[in-house]
């Protein structure tokens, strides 16, 4: 049995198609309306309200809290201050990525890690010999993500916290709709947005207040179908879509290093020890298997392919997350990697794909070919390597 989240009494009746998905053992709406398009448009032009309660959350407290998170995270947290949030991956001893998430400093000796997969054992293993306590607080908090260009104004109408001074990747305590909350200017949409965590008992009143205030701000509750579209546009990796956790596969071929995922920027050369550091150093010296890039497909070619069958152009209006072969040449002689997530971006009017290719093909502007299957025939569609994030509105960080 999947569990309801603390918002379920409210999200349940809204979920018109009963289109529930399994998110870490909880019921999560795929879409609220039968189709996701209104929800998507709300996120990009107004706001979307996502129930993100199923995220795993861990509190790390004690004298060695910083040492612990800094040991686990690839990014250097040594300069972290209270109220700061880092996006980081963590990896195993061989530098292979386990998961990504945010690490927030909530107090002098207190950090909170959010994760996509259960991570308690990994944190405990890495805290051996350190003076910290690690607590799974996943179910002590209900969370929503309010994301989109109107999110700041809307949230401001529900809180006394001065949101204009809360910068990108910062968090603060404050009351939202009367309930004590943690407000974090973070999200998984590549847009302006906030994540708000409250105790489970305050979940329903928070939701009600949001829905009531939302009308003025073009806000709609939004589900996972939309979330996957906007995170791809935002150039954000999805676990089980763009990578497999090194802890969840036993096959080396399926494990991916920090560099393979295009996250080498996270690694600071002079950071003190972190798990995977030495392997990543060796990899940096000897070269990586892959890099992760954005691709933009030439839809005019795709249109011609459909025309061969007397059909109009068809595009992926919901995202796909599967391994699609990528070649350096049209005849598909040289396999160089795979597309991992793809979609037609309504806001960009482009067919975009996240792909993992051999590093020598990762240069911006490079022309490569990605397979598309039309009427069960395989075709090579030309695509250019483009910058990620695909969509990066100026108000995201403003």
């Amino acid at each position: 049995m999947l569990k309801p989240t603390p918002f379920h009494s409210r999200t349940g009746p809204l979920c018109q198609g009963h289109s529930w998905a399994n998110w870490a053992g909880f019921l999560a709406a795929t879409t609220y309306e039968p189709d996701h398009l209104h929800e998507y448009n709300a996120v990009r032009t107004g706001s979307g309200l996502f129930d993100v309660s199923p995220l795993f959350k861990y509190d790390i407290r004690g004298r060695d809290a910083l040492a612990t998170v800094n040991r686990v995270a690839v990014r250097d947290l040594s300069k972290s201050r209270i109220g700061q949030v880092y996006y980081s991956v963590w990896c195993d001893d061989k530098g292979m990525v386990i998961d990504d998430g945010t690490i927030s400093q909530l107090g002098e000796d207190h950090f909170r890690i959010t994760a996509a997969i259960p991570t308690l054992a990994w944190l405990q293993d890495n805290a051996i010999g350190l003076e910290v306590t690690i607590e799974d607080v996943s179910e002590q908090f209900a969370g929503v993500a309010l994301q989109g260009p109107t999110s700041r104004d809307m949230l401001q109408s529900l809180t006394d916290v001065d949101l204009s001074s809360l910068r990108f990747f910062r968090c603060t305590d404050g009351k939202v709709a009367g309930a004590p909350a943690l407000i974090s200017r973070t999200g998984y949409t590549g847009d302006l947005g906030y994540e708000i965590f409250v105790g489970p008992d305050d979940a329903e009143s928070l939701w009600d207040a949001m829905m009531e205030a939302g009308g003025k701000f073009q806000m709609l509750p939004a589900g996972l179908a939309t979330l996957d579209l906007v995170r791809i546009e935002g150039g954000l990796l999805g676990i089980d879509a763009d990578f497999t956790s090194a802890l969840q596969t036993m096959f080396p071929v399926q494990k991916l290093s920090v560099y393979d995922l295009g996250l080498g920027w996270m690694i600071k050369a002079n950071k003190s020890f972190f798990v995977g550091r030495d392997a990543l150093r060796r990899e940096k010296a000897s070269g990586s298997r892959y890099d992760t890039v954005g691709l933009e497909l030439d839809v005019t070619v795709l249109e011609k392919v459909y025309a061969e069958y007397g059909m109009p152009l068809h595009l992926p209006y919901t995202s796909w997350n599967s391994a699609v072969p990528v070649f350096s040449d049209e005849p598909q002689k040289h396999h160089i990697g795979r597309g991992t997530s793809g979609m037609w971006s309504p806001v960009l009017k482009k067919y975009i794909v996240m792909a993992r290719v051999k590093p020598e093909y990762a240069k911006l502007g490079n022309l490569i070919w990605i397979e598309d299957v039309v009427e069960s025939h395989s075709y090579s569609i030309p695509a250019r390597v483009v910058k990620m994030p695909f969509y990066d509105p100026p108000w995201k960080k403003a």
Partner: protein, 527 residues
């Protein structure tokens, strides 16, 4: 330039051996010992006024002949071997003595079983051959599995001799016997409880297992391989006590130019750019060196002297999983006269009593003594290993008086009933009651007693969980797995940082081999 070539943390016998070898090779060496005396677990202390007592280890027979020769220790210290390898009084008032001499022992055994007497020489022959192979591993630096190198294979050539002597037909014996319970092995050869107990007790003297547990045949062999008696255990003491031996080692090291300081507790190893560059003392004082060597146990080394967050996740988890689990208490008695064993009544007892004395009348007895540790209890009928060193060296006690030192098993590190301090005297009473069943006058001749429980061994001598060997010497913590696979070659993941104590291959006992092997590897790296 650093002040020293090498700083060694700890002046246990292994730290001293490493220091002596390195100084002999011309290195500038500083040894820092936190206690006020050198020797670690091999010390002599005046526990009772006028008595010089080997507080922890008291048998010196395991010391490597190579170390003794190369460091010229025989010129500095005198050892007294004993003809008796084990005097084993029995509950029915009889006794079995194991002598160095096989024939003489067979005659003793014949009093218990004619068949066993016939088997004994064959058993000794087989075990000696197999122990030869195990012994051949001791002075080797373990290979880096699975990435075994050509050099490792060449080192392995040293094993060819012992394997050839063992004979091809006996290789299956070797492979079969290693993981067996010692009880099963001994039951295959012998029928008399007294014989099985006399030999099998040594398989568990230094570990927290009973003889019915798998892998204890290996521990018996490992003891056999290093005993120096050609049998399952060592026998013999140092004149002046164990402190005289470590004192001689310290003198040898100083003689080669090493500097040794006591009362100097190291609080941390200084690491810069992922290299050990020196140490900081708890006084705040700092010293620099090109290399740092730890004689402390692995957990202390990696958790306290270094920081766990220097190391990979797997590494730390493996260190965390090192089994320590001490289960022996040490009890010292000052005696006004010798104990009178019923089994020796009417004759001259000094010959038998001058070697090791074992209260382990059967393997079931020892196993039952062990069983209770599984439930956090101490043995009601403990297995005892005794030594009266004053019979070999009367100068250790005031004239006419004696020392009786007992290793009493089993006394688990963690008592279910709570803190040991509330129970240690009652355990000592149990030990003395047990002894009284074999030597009824014992209570009358005790003038003083001193009890060290596993927590005492930990707090006073720095032996975590009271384990005698810086980690159990079981098969899964042997050779390339000691202390853990990624630092079984005396090196650690921190460049310039080494380990040389009993936690490293081949393990504990006053052998000097870990210290000897570590020095060899350090010299290789600094050529």
């Amino acid at each position: 330039m650093a002040q020293y070539d090498v700083i060694i943390i700890g002046a246990g016998h292994n730290g001293l051996v490493t220091a002596a070898y390195l100084a002999q090779a011309g290195r500038r060496v500083l040894v820092l010992e936190k206690r006020d005396t050198v020797g670690g677990a091999a010390v002599s202390e005046e526990i009772f006024p006028g008595f010089k007592i080997s507080s922890v280890a008291d048998g010196c027979g395991y010391l490597s002949a190579k170390v003794r020769r190369e460091l010229k220790l025989d010129a500095r210290v005198e050892t007294v071997p004993s003809d008796v390898v084990a005097f084993c009084p029995q509950p029915d008032g009889t006794q079995l003595t194991i002598w160095r001499d096989t024939q003489r022992t067979a005659e003793e055994i014949a009093r218990f079983s004619k068949a066993d007497a016939e088997e004994y020489p064959k058993f000794v022959e087989l075990m000696s051959r197999i122990a030869d192979v195990v012994g051949g591993l001791m002075e080797m630096t373990p290979p880096d599995l699975p990435e075994i190198s050509l050099r490792d294979l060449l080192n392995g050539a040293a094993l060819l001799g012992p394997v050839r002597r063992l004979g091809r037909k006996r290789i299956p014996d070797l492979l079969r016997i290693l993981p067996m319970p010692s009880a099963d092995l001994l039951n295959e050869f012998f029928e008399a409880d007294a014989v099985r107990g006399a030999i099998g007790a040594s398989s568990v003297l230094n570990i927290t297992w009973g003889p019915q547990e798998n892998g204890t045949a290996y521990t018996l062999l490992s003891s056999w391989a290093q005993s120096g008696t050609g049998l399952f255990r060592s026998a013999g003491v140092v004149k002046g006590g164990m402190g005289a031996l470590t004192g001689a080692l310290a003198d040898a090291a100083r003689g080669f130019g090493a500097e040794i300081r006591t009362g100097a507790s190291v609080s941390e190893v200084i690491v810069a750019d992922e290299r050990a560059t020196g140490v900081r003392l708890s006084s705040g004082e700092e010293h620099t060196a090109a290399a740092v060597v730890s004689n402390a146990d692995p957990r202390t080394t990696f958790y306290e002297l270094l920081e766990p967050h220097y190391f990979d996740t797997l590494f730390v988890r493996q260190v965390e999983n090192i089994k320590y689990r001490g289960s022996a208490a040490r009890i010292h008695l000052a005696l006004s006269a010798l104990p009178e064993f019923t089994a020796l009544a009417g004759g001259d007892a000094t010959a038998q009593l001058s070697g090791p004395i074992q209260i382990a009348p059967s393997l079931d007895y020892v196993q039952k003594a062990f069983d209770c540790t599984k439930y956090g209890e101490y043995s009601r009928y403990p297995y005892l290993d005794l030594l009266i060193p004053t019979l070999s060296d009367p100068s250790l006690a005031p004239a006419g008086q004696h020392i009786l030192s007992i290793t009493a098993k089993y006394a688990p590190y963690e008592l279910d009933a709570g803190d040991w301090s509330a129970h240690k005297q009652s355990f000592a009473d149990v030990v003395i009651d047990t002894l009284a069943e074999y030597a009824p006058n014992i209570r009358d001749v005790i003038t003083d007693r001193h009890v060290l429980t596993p927590p005492d061994l930990e707090s006073l001598y720095g032996l975590p969980e009271g384990n005698p060997n810086h980690g159990e010497m079981t098969l899964e913590q042997f050779f390339h797995m000691r202390p853990i696979p990624s630092c079984a070659r005396y090196r650690t993941p921190i460049a310039g940082m080494y380990i040389c104590g009993a936690g490293a291959h081949p393990g504990g006992g006053v052998t000097g081999i870990p210290g000897h092997n570590a020095a060899r590897e350090i010299l290789k790296d600094s050529k």
